[in-house]
Symmetry: C2
Subunit: 98 residues, 2 copies
Protein backbone atom coordinates (compact mmCIF):
# COMPACT_ATOMS: atom_id res chain seq x y z
CA UNK A 1 0.00 0.00 0.00
CA UNK A 2 1.59 3.31 -1.00
CA UNK A 3 1.91 5.95 1.74
CA UNK A 4 0.24 9.36 1.45
CA UNK A 5 3.52 10.93 0.34
CA UNK A 6 4.22 8.20 -2.22
CA UNK A 7 0.66 8.56 -3.58
CA UNK A 8 1.07 12.33 -3.75
CA UNK A 9 4.32 12.07 -5.76
CA UNK A 10 2.79 9.39 -8.01
CA UNK A 11 -0.17 11.68 -8.63
CA UNK A 12 2.12 14.51 -9.76
CA UNK A 13 3.53 12.14 -12.41
CA UNK A 14 0.19 10.73 -13.57
CA UNK A 15 -1.43 14.17 -13.77
CA UNK A 16 1.50 15.51 -15.80
CA UNK A 17 1.35 12.57 -18.22
CA UNK A 18 -2.47 12.73 -18.45
CA UNK A 19 -1.89 15.93 -20.46
CA UNK A 20 1.67 15.50 -21.84
CA UNK A 21 0.67 12.26 -23.59
CA UNK A 22 -2.10 13.97 -25.62
CA UNK A 23 -0.04 15.29 -28.53
CA UNK A 24 3.54 15.61 -29.79
CA UNK A 25 6.29 14.70 -27.34
CA UNK A 26 4.67 12.58 -24.64
CA UNK A 27 7.29 13.67 -22.10
CA UNK A 28 6.60 17.40 -22.33
CA UNK A 29 3.61 19.74 -22.20
CA UNK A 30 2.94 21.91 -25.22
CA UNK A 31 1.35 25.33 -24.57
CA UNK A 32 -2.07 23.85 -25.33
CA UNK A 33 -1.51 20.85 -23.03
CA UNK A 34 -0.31 23.17 -20.24
CA UNK A 35 -3.45 25.31 -20.70
CA UNK A 36 -5.66 22.21 -20.50
CA UNK A 37 -3.82 21.00 -17.39
CA UNK A 38 -4.14 24.34 -15.59
CA UNK A 39 -7.79 24.84 -16.60
CA UNK A 40 -8.74 21.34 -15.46
CA UNK A 41 -6.43 20.75 -12.52
CA UNK A 42 -6.02 24.25 -11.05
CA UNK A 43 -9.39 25.95 -11.74
CA UNK A 44 -9.50 27.71 -8.36
CA UNK A 45 -6.02 29.11 -8.81
CA UNK A 46 -6.74 30.22 -12.38
CA UNK A 47 -9.97 31.99 -11.39
CA UNK A 48 -8.17 33.78 -8.57
CA UNK A 49 -5.65 35.27 -11.02
CA UNK A 50 -8.36 37.14 -13.02
CA UNK A 51 -5.81 37.56 -15.85
CA UNK A 52 -6.47 35.97 -19.26
CA UNK A 53 -2.72 35.92 -19.87
CA UNK A 54 -2.03 33.81 -16.75
CA UNK A 55 -1.34 30.59 -18.68
CA UNK A 56 1.00 32.38 -21.11
CA UNK A 57 2.88 33.95 -18.20
CA UNK A 58 3.18 30.58 -16.46
CA UNK A 59 4.40 29.02 -19.72
CA UNK A 60 7.08 31.71 -19.99
CA UNK A 61 8.13 31.19 -16.35
CA UNK A 62 8.21 27.40 -16.52
CA UNK A 63 9.87 27.00 -19.92
CA UNK A 64 13.32 27.56 -18.43
CA UNK A 65 15.20 26.32 -21.55
CA UNK A 66 12.91 28.22 -23.95
CA UNK A 67 12.13 25.23 -26.17
CA UNK A 68 8.39 25.99 -26.16
CA UNK A 69 7.69 22.86 -24.15
CA UNK A 70 7.42 22.20 -20.40
CA UNK A 71 9.25 19.16 -19.04
CA UNK A 72 8.23 17.37 -15.84
CA UNK A 73 11.13 19.08 -14.03
CA UNK A 74 9.88 22.50 -15.21
CA UNK A 75 6.28 21.57 -14.32
CA UNK A 76 7.26 20.54 -10.77
CA UNK A 77 8.53 24.07 -10.09
CA UNK A 78 4.94 25.31 -10.58
CA UNK A 79 3.73 22.74 -8.06
CA UNK A 80 6.46 23.78 -5.62
CA UNK A 81 5.57 27.47 -5.88
CA UNK A 82 1.87 26.85 -5.37
CA UNK A 83 2.44 24.36 -2.52
CA UNK A 84 4.71 26.79 -0.67
CA UNK A 85 2.12 29.56 -1.07
CA UNK A 86 -0.65 27.22 0.13
CA UNK A 87 1.45 26.07 3.11
CA UNK A 88 1.90 29.69 4.21
CA UNK A 89 -1.89 30.08 4.13
CA UNK A 90 -2.11 26.83 6.14
CA UNK A 91 0.25 28.31 8.78
CA UNK A 92 -1.79 31.54 9.01
CA UNK A 93 -4.98 29.53 9.26
CA UNK A 94 -3.46 27.44 12.06
CA UNK A 95 -2.37 30.62 13.93
CA UNK A 96 -5.88 32.04 13.49
CA UNK A 97 -7.30 28.99 15.26
CA UNK A 98 -5.07 29.44 18.38
CA UNK B 1 -14.27 18.67 -5.11
CA UNK B 2 -10.49 19.12 -5.21
CA UNK B 3 -8.74 17.96 -8.40
CA UNK B 4 -6.03 15.29 -8.32
CA UNK B 5 -3.32 17.95 -8.47
CA UNK B 6 -4.92 20.05 -5.72
CA UNK B 7 -5.25 16.93 -3.54
CA UNK B 8 -1.63 16.02 -4.22
CA UNK B 9 -0.36 19.47 -3.15
CA UNK B 10 -2.65 19.45 -0.10
CA UNK B 11 -1.27 16.05 0.84
CA UNK B 12 2.32 17.37 0.74
CA UNK B 13 1.28 20.00 3.29
CA UNK B 14 -0.68 17.67 5.57
CA UNK B 15 2.06 15.01 5.54
CA UNK B 16 4.71 17.63 6.40
CA UNK B 17 2.64 18.99 9.29
CA UNK B 18 1.72 15.49 10.53
CA UNK B 19 5.38 15.28 11.63
CA UNK B 20 6.40 18.95 12.05
CA UNK B 21 3.63 19.51 14.60
CA UNK B 22 4.93 16.79 16.92
CA UNK B 23 7.53 18.77 18.86
CA UNK B 24 9.24 22.17 19.01
CA UNK B 25 8.54 24.54 16.13
CA UNK B 26 5.38 23.28 14.41
CA UNK B 27 6.45 24.80 11.10
CA UNK B 28 9.72 22.91 10.81
CA UNK B 29 10.96 19.32 11.03
CA UNK B 30 13.57 18.52 13.64
CA UNK B 31 16.06 15.75 12.80
CA UNK B 32 13.90 13.28 14.74
CA UNK B 33 10.71 14.41 13.00
CA UNK B 34 12.42 14.13 9.59
CA UNK B 35 13.58 10.61 10.48
CA UNK B 36 10.02 9.63 11.50
CA UNK B 37 8.60 11.14 8.28
CA UNK B 38 11.08 9.32 6.03
CA UNK B 39 10.73 6.00 7.88
CA UNK B 40 6.94 6.12 7.74
CA UNK B 41 6.26 7.89 4.44
CA UNK B 42 9.21 6.75 2.29
CA UNK B 43 9.95 3.19 3.52
CA UNK B 44 10.62 1.83 0.03
CA UNK B 45 13.05 4.62 -0.76
CA UNK B 46 14.82 4.26 2.60
CA UNK B 47 15.21 0.49 2.19
CA UNK B 48 16.63 0.96 -1.32
CA UNK B 49 19.41 3.20 0.02
CA UNK B 50 20.86 0.45 2.29
CA UNK B 51 22.77 3.19 4.18
CA UNK B 52 22.06 3.79 7.87
CA UNK B 53 23.28 7.37 7.45
CA UNK B 54 20.69 8.14 4.73
CA UNK B 55 18.48 10.28 6.98
CA UNK B 56 21.47 12.26 8.28
CA UNK B 57 22.67 12.87 4.72
CA UNK B 58 19.20 13.98 3.65
CA UNK B 59 19.00 16.29 6.68
CA UNK B 60 22.32 17.86 5.68
CA UNK B 61 21.18 18.29 2.07
CA UNK B 62 17.76 19.72 2.95
CA UNK B 63 18.81 22.04 5.77
CA UNK B 64 19.94 24.73 3.33
CA UNK B 65 20.22 27.48 5.98
CA UNK B 66 21.94 25.18 8.52
CA UNK B 67 19.56 25.96 11.40
CA UNK B 68 19.17 22.26 12.26
CA UNK B 69 15.54 22.34 11.16
CA UNK B 70 13.83 21.58 7.82
CA UNK B 71 11.20 24.07 6.64
CA UNK B 72 8.40 23.15 4.25
CA UNK B 73 10.32 24.84 1.40
CA UNK B 74 13.40 22.73 2.20
CA UNK B 75 11.26 19.59 2.51
CA UNK B 76 9.63 20.16 -0.89
CA UNK B 77 13.05 19.96 -2.57
CA UNK B 78 13.26 16.33 -1.36
CA UNK B 79 9.86 15.63 -2.90
CA UNK B 80 10.95 17.29 -6.15
CA UNK B 81 14.14 15.23 -6.38
CA UNK B 82 12.34 11.95 -5.72
CA UNK B 83 9.45 12.80 -8.08
CA UNK B 84 11.84 13.66 -10.92
CA UNK B 85 13.72 10.40 -10.38
CA UNK B 86 10.44 8.45 -10.30
CA UNK B 87 9.19 10.20 -13.45
CA UNK B 88 12.33 9.13 -15.31
CA UNK B 89 11.59 5.54 -14.28
CA UNK B 90 8.00 6.09 -15.48
CA UNK B 91 9.33 7.24 -18.89
CA UNK B 92 11.64 4.18 -19.19
CA UNK B 93 8.77 1.92 -18.16
CA UNK B 94 6.56 3.51 -20.81
CA UNK B 95 9.26 3.03 -23.47
CA UNK B 96 9.66 -0.60 -22.41
CA UNK B 97 5.95 -1.17 -23.09
CA UNK B 98 6.16 0.11 -26.72
Amino acid sequence: MPTDLERSMESLITVFHRYADKEGNSNTLSRRELRQLIESELPTFLKSQKDPATVDKIMKDLDANGDGEVSFEEFVSLVVGLSIACEQCYQLHKKGKK
